[in-house]
Subunit: 454 residues, 2 copies
């Protein structure tokens, strides 16, 4: 260990901040959270007592109950539910795939993608074609009929921030099946959307284009994907066996869980902070998005515990169904529009509980006028950038429907896609202190927006 | 998962940088490291094939051999060893402690501190006194005689960066035993220097004051420390049993492993980059400091692979014995002085392989004149701060002896003290991408200092 000569730099910056008192109050929020945060214990309860929370699953409803209780405990004046019709897709059992090469059979680590249809009960066996990108698919369209397409489009690891790599690769997961079905493919296997070094397969939503036959779609772990590529390089005729019992049931009812803390000055004007309560099913949905839920609950608890009295009403929203259609976000934004509610700002956390680095905004530069000079207040707590790379799928609809500024917490992204939608997205892969730093930065932003308006 | 609307921002900044070509070359370094880094595989070999590397242990020498090979492979023009006499302390078996409360016996998770003397073979059983800080020790000095002192001085979790919390608490580990022995204590148990949520005990160096009897010193895991505090609150008379066979042998020979890459313009002027090869013994020394070694080796490999020709000679130094006396650093700096070598700059990595956030320097503001304007070149890769909080124990002696500017890579610190000197400091707790980002920032700094001088 290096020997440290650091001074105490609790109040490192002064600079161009709104006022010294803001830096003092944010320090008070930080002390409150570092000493008394409930975020980590809340995350433990949500992940370990409830677990996977796929839209429509029984845990959808136990999680809603948990969310109401947690918001009550955090000190919300009023906790209520907001209805949304949500998809109800079920996995239906264990997904399987086998690589068939002559007489060799090799089991692959796979998981069906969300919304995939099932294979026939006996599975599908067909020749495999390795495709690297949609351009290659188009060029080889005459070869596709009757085949299982293996889309091997790795993350571009040259990106510094992994969200960019995901953004570029994810169309293969979302649209690959229908793109291949257009030319007669009978199934697809997609390289997992991940930057990990392990072999966990990563699920996530896919969307069918109704113009083409619906074919089953699975994701394969990265090591097995590399093995498929290596085998395909030396063997001419490979086949795949795939099997899944995945299928959609009729839409069902889900609820956004909302905790409201009434504003003293503008009780009919709203600031929203939220995460999504649903998750994919292979694990506990810890980083996606248990952390966003407990971050948001902690914002309310900590501001209250620090003695703050909000001017505007602050709503903590635990959104339903972010993963599989975003119906909760649509319900929230459309009700805001219908009821002609006055919204000021909305913030979400849905990129993990890692050390914060950035807030990313969606809105106009005019709306950023109040915000931009506040950056030095965040720097001691890890957020060193305000960017305009967009927010996220739970608050974007509110920007669409009302035009308000929306934002997302952007933590360090190196580990996020190690766990995202995979069996290792568990409580143990969240660090308590990193989680708390996220809540501190979020609470500071909500405090400043409430205090100064936009 | 949020939906991402990020643009590709590879060349985000232009600004006040030395030149556009630097940003392009640093991007080339980054691509080289993201695509072809050997850092992660090197770390795997060092941690899994060699393992713990306590000064004087057999692995001291297998690690030196590994280091020479790795530096050859990385492309050093010349690899050589630099001798240092190093301490040879051995654990000698399993360390033990038991809490004795009436008829109850409770085993505690403990580990002897580095340099501790042994207990008698049958251990030591004595009443326990809980002491929170040195002030309390002084006030209660009359009670200390014949007792085992339990120093329970937790990390101050209100610090944002955990290095500060360590800095404040670590004197209890280093000096606690002699401070207590002064008043007749027969042993000490120290709360582990950690911010973790688990119960691993954390070892680390302690130093005896020769004016007082040498008494055995152990660290206890945080959960057990809290249990001791809770038990002490309700029970008047608690005793502890402690047992360790730790003892020092005669000093032995160790070596700094040095790889030199000859400068084209100033071959007799040196830029040093290093980490330390030794580690504590409970685990593999992955984050402390395998990561610093493989970072430094990667700087050489990547700059060479990117086609760079250094003006000054670049030395990668894998220091011996950082943990238990810093003899390797002293040998390096005193030989620099004796031989009247011209050193330009030295950089170390000894704070883990987590995502980089900062370079911390030790030197004068005049020496920082060339450096300061370069910050925007680092920001796309995670380093957003140049601070003057000092460097580290492997390069500080070079500042002391030659007055040159020295620096340390400062990664995010939230997880470092989860693993530091404990059984969970293993390869699996290092993330490949975070590790690579450290190497990228270090290579960029070495490149810029070599190019522009100081």
């Amino acid at each position: 260990m290096r020997s440290f000569l650091f001074g105490a730099f609790l109040f490192l910056f002064i600079g161009t901040v709104k006022s010294q008192s803001d830096s003092v109050f944010i320090r008070k929020i930080a002390d409150e959270i570092f000493q008394h945060s409930t975020a980590y214990n809340n995350l433990h309860a949500l992940t370990k007592n409830i677990g996977p929370r796929l839209s429509g699953s029984p845990q959808t409803y136990t999680a809603e109950k948990w969310g109401q209780d947690a918001l009550q405990r955090a000190g919300a004046d009023r906790v209520y539910l907001q209805k949304a019709m949500i998809p109800h897709w079920v996995r239906g059992g264990k997904d399987q795939a086998t690589l068939i090469s002559g007489n060799n059979r090799q089991t692959l680590a796979v998981i069906a993608l969300g919304n995939s249809v099932s294979t026939p009960a006996k599975g599908i066996t067909a020749p495999m074609i390795l495709i690297h990108d949609f351009d290659e698919l188009e060029k080889r369209k005459s070869e596709i009929k009757g085949k299982i397409i293996f889309f091997n489009h790795p993350f571009d690891m040259n990106f510094v921030w992994m969200f960019n790599a995901y953004q570029e690769a994810v169309p293969y997961r979302v649209f690959g099946a229908s793109r291949a079905a257009k030319y007669g493919a009978v199934g697809v296997l997609v390289r997992s959307m991940s930057s990990s070094t392990d072999n966990f397969p990563h699920t996530g939503a896919m969307i069918y284009n109704d113009s083409f036959p619906k074919i089953p779609a699975l994701a394969v772990g990265l090591r097995d994907a590399d093995k498929l590529v290596a085998t395909a390089a030396t063997q001419n005729s490979l086949s795949l066996f795939i099997s899944t019992n995945a299928h959609a049931l009729a839409d069902t009812v889900g609820y956004n869980v909302i905790g409201e803390w009434r504003g003293s000055e503008f009780p009919d004007q709203y600031i929203t902070v939220g995460g999504h309560l649903d998750s994919w099913d292979p694990a506990e949905g810890a980083s996606d998005d248990g952390t966003g839920c407990v971050h948001s609950i902690e914002v309310l608890r900590a501001l209250k515990a620090a003695g703050y009295k909000p001017r505007h009403s602050i709503r903590v929203v635990l959104f339903t169904d972010e993963e599989n259609g975003g119906r909760g976000a649509l319900a929230y934004s459309s009700e805001a529009k219908t009821k002609n509610e006055k919204h000021i700002f909305a913030l979400e956390s849905d990129a993990g509980g890692f050390t914060p680095r950035e807030f990313s905004f969606k809105g106009t530069e005019a709306q950023m006028k109040t915000i931009r000079p506040l950056l030095p207040l965040f720097e001691p707590y890890g957020v060193t950038t305000f960017s305009m790379h967009g927010a996220g799928s739970d608050v974007d609809p509110l920007n669409d429907s009302t035009g308000i500024l929306v934002a997302a917490l952007i933590p360090d992204s190196q580990r996020y896609f190690d766990y995202h939608h995979a069996a290792n997205d568990v409580f143990e892969n969240v660090n308590k202190r990193e989680l708390e730093l996220g809540a501190i930065n979020m609470a500071a932003l909500i405090y400043l927006v409430d205090k100064y308006g936009l």
